[in-house]
């Protein structure tokens, strides 16, 4: 797996033709050019995914069954719905670590309200809370200039605490809300997967074709330069944090629906998986680089690894070791890629 990741870094650093064409400045060596080729990179990721799928389908006969694959995709969907706006944030050079506890908080709030009101009120409350979380995160980062890592880390603790307070320590059971998480309205595909595909499609359009998306790329690439060409970086960042908050609410609702209950401990460590998928998908921690498509493949890779290891009866503690290792490797390769691009 490590080998395939190494491959995807290769096309980026290489570009001898460009180096030769550039007249070296008289006072120093010429910089090697960086080519923005995302396609071969995505290709290498897909290759890695295919290798993993092949490996697990040979190891366990249950892997390649329709039921298992749909399970896999459903598991991916909860993470994925959050990872899509997460990618937009990381492209802009920011990160949201409050997503896991945010999802739990939205779920618990929705369930506790829905116990006394109709379900719709609970759903609307969850959406409102998600937006509010996004606004607070965004304002902390853009107005108060709190480092996003710290601001959302603090928010993560705050929300987890509030979740426990509101759940009063226990799990809130909720009947009549299974539809969102378990319905299969179309071609037997689970609704959460359809939601993920829709969210991703919207994000692809936003990032590729709109001023909003381009502004996020520009701000992540060089915030000072972006401001000097008239990009409204702060406004766009707040919007991206709000998108993240919305996706957190959506994901929290899906989770609650799947479990028919809201647990204050749900989605613990979700931020780890989300960041792993994004970085694995080629978005750079230093901003300005990355694609939604890449994140989708990153999500699938993580999903296949988790699912495959479970089928092979690997101890779930080792699965934690695996996902931590995957995150560190992904970041290490991101750094390697940046160095290759620079020298």
């Amino acid at each position: 797996m490590a080998h395939a990741t190494e491959d995807r870094t290769a096309p980026n650093g290489a570009g001898p033709d460009g180096a030769a064409a550039r007249p070296a400045s008289a006072e120093g060596p010429a910089k090697r050019p960086l080519r923005g080729r995302t396609l071969p990179e995505l290709g290498a990721l897909l290759l890695m995914l295919a290798a993993l799928v092949l490996f697990f389908s040979l190891k366990t006969p249950q892997f390649m069954t329709q039921g298992n694959l749909l399970n896999l995709l459903t598991a991916v969907a909860v993470t994925g719905i959050i990872a899509i706006p997460g990618t937009m944030l990381l492209i802009a050079g920011q990160v949201d670590l409050s997503v896991g506890s945010g999802a739990a908080f939205c779920g618990v709030m929705m369930a506790s309200i829905a116990q006394e009101q109709i379900i719709l009120v609970g759903v609307l409350a969850a959406v409102g809370i998600g937006i509010a979380i996004g606004v607070v995160n965004g304002v902390l980062v853009t107005v108060f200039k709190v480092n996003a890592l710290i601001a959302t880390l603090g928010m993560m603790a705050v929300l987890r605490g509030l979740t426990h307070v509101n759940a009063d320590g226990g799990t809130i059971a909720l009947a009549n809300f299974a539809g969102l998480g378990t319905a299969r309205p179309f071609l037997d595909i689970p609704l959460p997967v359809i939601i993920l595909v829709l969210v991703a499609a919207i994000a692809v359009v936003l990032m590729r074709y709109t001023v909003f998306g381009r502004s996020l790329y520009a701000s992540g690439s060089n915030p000072v330069a972006a401001r000097l060409v008239g990009v409204r970086g702060n406004k766009m960042l707040v919007l991206a944090f709000v998108a993240s908050g919305l996706s957190v609410a959506l994901s929290g609702l899906v989770l609650t629906s799947q479990l028919s209950a809201a647990s204050p401990n749900s989605a613990t460590g979700l931020e780890l998986t989300v960041v792993t998928a994004i970085v694995l998908g080629g978005a750079s921690l230093s901003g300005g680089r990355g694609t939604i498509q890449g994140t989708l493949v990153g999500l699938l890779i993580i999903g296949v690894v988790n699912n495959g290891l479970t089928l092979m009866n690997v101890n779930s503690f080792y699965q934690q070791v695996a996902s931590g290792t995957l995150l560190i490797l992904a970041v290490a390769f991101d750094q390697l890629r940046l160095r290759l691009a620079k020298t």
């Binding site: 570009g15 033709d17 460009g18 180096a19 030769a20 064409a21 550039r22 007249p23 070296a24 400045s25 008289a26 006072e27 120093g28 060596p29 010429a30 910089k31 050019p33 960086l34 080519r35 923005g36 074709y209 709109t210 001023v211 909003f212 381009r214 502004s215 790329y217 520009a218 992540g220 690439s221 060089n222 000072v224 330069a225 972006a226 401001r227 000097l228 060409v229 008239g230 990009v231 409204r232 750079s284 300005g288 680089r289 691009a341």
Partner: protein, 510 residues
């Protein structure tokens, strides 16, 4: 180890004769066989334009670069010579060669005494001997005739004082040769005088000094010998008093002097003032500044780095706010930040292209179109085809070499081509007033003339252009009018045939 050596009383002990030094970077040779003698007790002025190879040459001498060919011949006091084909940094250090770089390389949060022993701590039983640190600092500062608070953090000192600390560090362990890379660029006149005092004192102590500069007045004031580099070769060398100013300029600029010609008198200048500064003050950058840029006119603000020229351009673009006087930009008070400035038709290039201009990870097409996105989009959707067409149009007009077209990432372009893309932003935006800081810094000669032609074209179409630059050749080639700034004030205004390199350097040197 060298500090254990007894103090060598012999003056003029240091002698380095570099012969036929060649050095290439990425297939381009930047030094074509250079000879240079560096001798103890003498000040060698190393002159040359930007990109002539001065820095590369001294980096070879200081061991930071290995020459591809040539020899370094070191004389020793007993007359025997020793030849090396190149040095690494420790070897250069052992030979007593010290270099003071253009940028400060001190540790701002450490004290003066600590900085002087930085990287060469006196030790006692494996621990730093703090008494020796202070003693060494006092000794070397005394020998330089300077009083500085040994316990002051370097960050609290002025630039000139910090430079003194760096020189003190270089001298603290028996320097035989001290290379100063454009040391006066950021200094006030008084700090310059003080620095020159040290240089003379060191010369008397027998230290060999290499003084890199492109300021001719410093040569007359300080140098015993002079070496002029042009395009990587020596174009003049000998005792400093054998050359007068004109000869040195000719040697620096050379045959290319034909290229440094005044433009045709502009016919596009109209009476419409686009930019007016009236006694505008923004301390400490500039004071009581009067300036007018008319439609169709290119006005150059010439001054050394730190003279305030860039701050004036910043004020035009709404990055800096004057505290007194009035500024009218396109008949309005200055914009409230870049976004508003752009909307009003003002374009801007920052001095530091990588840090403040380039979106390196993005495509050239996006880089070019970014300020025009509001116009190129409908309901927030950018028209990608129009964006590509915009790139094609301006890349043809400016001769931008982007091998993969509009989708090429900006980082894959040479410095000159990157700068063309950033300039084309404002052509596409249709800006009527440009404020450009060092628009051709780090740009190769060919791209430079393309950029000048583009600016001329914009002025001919009625744009007003303000260029803040420290490159006097640029002023000569570009300016309809030129203002010379020294320490935040305009000291001279030149127009027409009076815009010459001599007049400019003369006015800026005062």
């Amino acid at each position: 180890m060298s500090s254990d050596r007894p103090q060598d009383p012999a003056p003029s002990a240091f002698s380095l004769r570099a012969r036929n030094i060649r050095k290439s970077f990425g297939g381009t040779e930047v030094l074509h066989g250079v000879d240079v003698d560096v001798l103890g007790g003498r000040v060698l002025a190393l002159l040359g334009e930007n990109g002539a190879g001065k820095s590369t040459l001294v980096r070879v001498i200081a061991g930071a670069h290995q020459p591809d060919a040539g020899t370094l011949e070191f004389g020793s006091p007993d007359g025997a010579a020793e030849t090396a084909t190149g040095l690494d940094p420790p070897a250069a250090r052992r030979r007593g060669i010290r270099m003071i770089f253009q940028e400060l390389s001190d540790a701002p949060d450490l004290t003066v005494a600590e900085n002087i022993s930085l990287g060469n701590w006196p030790r006692r039983r494996g621990l730093v001997d703090w008494r020796a640190v202070r003693q060494r600092a006092r000794q070397v500062l005394d020998s330089m005739g300077v009083t500085l608070d040994l316990d002051a953090k370097v960050a609290t000192l002025r630039v000139g004082e910090r430079q003194i600390v760096e020189i003190a560090r270089a001298l603290s362990d028996d320097a035989g040769c001290l290379v100063l890379d454009e040391p006066t660029a950021a200094l006030s006149a008084e700090e310059c005088r003080r620095l020159f005092g040290f240089v003379r004192r060191l010369r008397e102590q027998g230290v060999a000094l290499v003084h890199i500069t492109h300021r001719l007045d410093e040569v007359a004031e300080l140098a015993d010998d002079v070496v002029v580099l042009r395009d990587g070769a020596v174009s003049a060398a000998g005792p400093a008093d054998r050359f007068d100013r004109t000869e040195l300029v000719t040697a620096m600029v050379g045959r290319d002097i034909g290229a440094v010609t005044r433009p045709e008198p502009s016919t596009s200048v109209t009476g419409t003032p686009l930019l007016v500064f009236d006694k505008a003050t923004a301390p400490p950058a500039f004071e009581e500044l009067d300036l007018v840029v008319h439609a169709g006119e290119i006005v150059c603000l010439y001054g050394k780095v730190g003279s305030g020229t860039a701050d004036v351009a910043d004020a035009v673009f709404g990055r800096r706010r004057p505290t007194a006087g009035t500024v009218r930009v396109l008949d309005r008070p200055p914009a409230d930040g870049p976004r508003q400035a752009i909307a009003r038709g003002i374009g801007y290039l920052a001095a530091d292209r990588q840090r403040e201009g380039a979106l390196l990870t993005r495509s050239v097409g996006e880089n070019l179109a970014a300020p025009s996105w509001p116009r190129l989009s409908r309901f927030g959707l950018v028209d990608a085809a129009r964006e590509r067409r915009a790139f094609t149009r301006w890349s043809e007009q400016l001769g931008i070499r982007a091998p993969d077209g509009a989708g090429q990432s900006l980082a894959g372009l040479s410095g000159g081509n990157q700068q063309k893309v950033l300039l084309a932003r404002w052509l596409e935006r249709g800006s009527s007033l440009l404020a450009l800081v060092e628009p051709t810094r780090g740009v190769d000669v060919g791209a430079r003339s393309d950029i000048y032609a583009a600016l001329r074209g914009m002025a001919a179409d009625g744009a007003g252009i303000l260029v803040a630059t420290s490159d006097y050749e640029e002023v000569v080639q570009l300016a309809d009018r030129a203002l010379v700034m020294v320490r935040g004030r305009v000291t001279r205004e030149l127009a027409g045939d009076l815009v010459t390199t001599e007049a400019l350097t003369d006015a800026a040197g005062g």
